[in-house]
């Protein structure tokens, strides 16, 4: 048996938002080099889990703990978690007036020069942006697709060890989903053999169109704030497509 080193261990987690319990009994173990998918209907708590792992203060941990790289990070600030190697792309990031995308890229890539490095400029071009675009205020007036591409571009600058993507494909056209998927594969070391991968990920998606291009190791279905089912992504997706989320969960044996 191959022993997988775990990068993220969540046990018995319960999360409360504004005095209301949104998540409970969450167990989630992600091994180094693995990509997991989180599926579930609207309002089931996917983004809540994402924010809780990221450590946003509004998401209060009522029970359980979050271990990252063997360290208990349950009480760590978002900054500390990110410095340890967590990276994210948001579903709906805020626009910040006067803060240019370029300014962020420099910080994320650890650059101090006035001009962006040629290496970063290549990535900018790869994501179909140009120097005029990166001079714009971050997310201000960006189209839906531009927001998603800018989030992925920032992750490419950061190169985190564990990346969470909250619906990177929603509102993105087919051509751009393929482009994003390609970059997500790069971020998650997919060009390497499974045992050799260093980077891990948690991919939140609704219907999983992006899964046609990004291979995942395990899928979890979140229903009403609980993980109702975990297993092989293809089988689970197949079930959901045939029977809907309810039907899928009924025929599923939760692994914990």
């Amino acid at each position: 048996m191959v022993v997988v080193k775990l990068i993220l261990e969540i046990t018995d987690l319960a999360i409360e938002v504004s005095g209301k319990e949104i998540l409970s009994d969450i167990d989630l173990y992600i091994g180094k080099g693995e990509t997991h998918v989180l599926l579930g209907p609207n309002g089931s708590g996917k983004s809540t889990l994402f924010m809780a792992i990221l450590g946003f203060p509004k998401y209060k941990v009522k029970a359980g703990e979050i271990i990252f790289k063997g360290e208990n990070i349950t009480n760590y600030s978002t900054t500390e978690r990110v410095k340890m190697g967590i990276g994210v792309s948001f579903q709906n990031p805020p626009a910040i007036r006067g803060v240019k995308l370029q300014d962020l890229l420099k910080i994320e890539h650890g650059e101090t020069d006035e001009e962006l490095s040629p290496e970063m400029m290549d990535l900018v071009t790869k994501l179909k942006f140009d120097d005029r675009f990166i001079d714009r205020d971050v997310n201000l007036g960006f189209s839906g697709g531009e927001v998603k591409r800018s989030e992925i571009l920032q992750l490419l600058a950061q190169k985190p060890d564990f990346i969470m993507f909250d619906e990177p494909d929603s509102g993105v056209d087919i051509e751009n989903v393929e482009l994003l998927a390609e970059e997500i594969n790069t971020l998650l070391d997919k060009e390497k053999k499974p045992g050799m991968r260093e980077k891990s990920g948690l991919l939140i998606t609704h219907l999983g169109y992006i899964l046609n291009f990004v291979n995942a190791d395990t899928a979890h279905v979140l229903m009403d704030g609980k993980i109702a089912c975990s297993g092989n992504p293809n089988e689970i997706l197949e079930d959901i497509r045939k029977e809907g989320f309810k039907g899928c969960v009924e025929c599923c044996n939760p692994i914990h």
Partner: protein, 408 residues
């Protein structure tokens, strides 16, 4: 140096007249230095290194590179006047008054001599300040730089400037006002009168960087002829004791236009009372006022704006955004719209709030600490795009602004 007895009488009568706004300053508390206390120099490069560094922080380049001319007043003495542009006359006010009799027709026409004790004080003291005149039809893209410098502690500095842009002239001015590094307290009174003839354009970009105990009372009036444009940019982000200023633009000419852009950062105990006023009497005249204010520590910022539409087809818009960063600080936004004619369009939008937590968290999720995130947002908020400047000057102004924001 008042030529007319009536002006003198009016000034004397207003000697004790409190200003309509702002804390009343006891002018007598400050020392009156004579003109001539400081030695004249040929070029700003003769200044001691530490003064050069100080004036650079307010955008005044001692080498004069990229400038059409330079003026420096230390305390009450005009110490340097140099101009390389053929299309601009730059002089000490004293010399200008000796040279041009007609200049008296421009004295105290855009600012009333008896506005308050500060204008009266300026009128009754020795002439100082500068005279700038852009010749008809000229277009100098390099700015004149003027610096008002307080070099001795506890002095009262009075300045009276007259700026004239003749028909179809384009003139750019950068003004930096600052104090020597060892000065704590002082009083600065700066009267500036602008006259724009038909088709003229003036941009006036001012950076203030005073010491913590300095009282500042600028008094500014702008008279605009037909088709003329006046653009004022004001930046203050460093601590000061109090400043009260309410420049007024009289848009008398048809199609005349003014833009006021201000960036205000309140720190420590500073009280900033800054407004802009436009009296729109010219047909089709217009104004735009944009301000960004951030209050820290115990600072108080009063952001005023007054748009008076007095003839048909005038337009005006005022936008004031404020961020309150500490519980002990205050931003008070006072927009006033006054319409006294039909068919006019005056509007304002004001928003005062705190830093959006969502934005801080977004930046924290990119690895910034909470403080780093907050200061990046504040700098972003204040670094508005200053419009209306030629490209080189816009880049220069951006650099000046970035420098000012470093201290926030």
């Amino acid at each position: 140096m008042l030529q007319s007895d009536t002006l003198k009488k009016r000034a004397e009568k207003a000697r004790k007249k409190k200003a309509a706004l702002g804390e009343d300053i006891e002018i007598e508390k400050f020392e009156q230095e004579e003109a001539g206390e400081h030695e004249e120099i040929e070029s700003l490069e003769e200044l001691p290194e530490k003064h050069k560094e100080t004036i650079l922080k307010v955008g005044v380049e001692a080498t004069g590179a990229g400038r059409a001319g330079s003026f420096l007043q230390i305390d009450q003495t005009g110490v340097c006047t140099s101009c390389s542009s053929e299309s601009i006359e730059l002089m000490n006010m004293k010399n200008a008054l000796e040279k041009y009799d007609w200049l008296n027709d421009y004295m105290w026409k855009a600012v009333a001599v008896d506005t308050d004790k500060y204008t009266a004080e300026t009128a009754l003291r020795e002439s100082s300040g500068y005279f700038i005149r852009a010749l008809p039809g000229s277009r100098e893209i390099f700015p004149i730089q003027a610096c008002m410098f307080i070099g001795d502690t506890n002095v009262s500095q009075t300045v009276h400037n007259i700026i004239i842009a003749e028909e179809n002239a384009e003139l750019h001015i950068i003004t930096g006002c600052t104090t020597g590094s060892d000065i704590q307290s002082a009083l600065h009174i700066g009267v500036s009168e602008f006259y724009l003839k038909k088709g003229a354009k003036i941009t006036f970009t001012m950076v203030h960087n005073w010491a913590e105990q300095v009282e500042v009372r600028p008094r500014t009036g702008v008279i605009l002829g037909d088709d003329s444009t006046y653009i004022s940019n004001y930046i203050l982000t460093s601590p000061v004791r109090t400043i009260q200023s309410y420049p007024t633009a009289y848009c008398q000419g048809e199609n005349s236009r003014t833009v006021f852009q201000s960036i205000l950062g309140g720190q420590k105990d500073s009280v900033l009372d800054i407004g802009s006023r436009a009296i729109l009497t010219g047909k089709n005249s217009s104004t735009e006022m944009i301000s960004r204010a951030v209050s820290k520590d115990q600072s108080q910022i009063y952001a005023r704006g007054h748009l008076a539409g007095k003839s048909p087809d005038v337009k005006g818009h005022l936008e004031c955004m404020g961020l309150v960063l500490s519980d002990d600080s205050l931003i008070y936004s006072i927009p006033e719209l006054e319409g006294s004619s039909t068919d006019l369009e005056l509007s304002h939008e004001a928003a005062v709030g705190k830093i959006a937590e969502e934005e801080v968290l977004y930046l924290m999720s990119r690895g910034l600490t909470e403080d780093e995130a907050a200061s990046m947002i504040v700098r972003g908020f204040l670094s508005m795009d200053i419009t209306g400047l030629p490209p080189e000057l816009a880049a220069e102004t951006k650099r000046m602004l970035d420098l000012s924001l470093k201290g926030m």
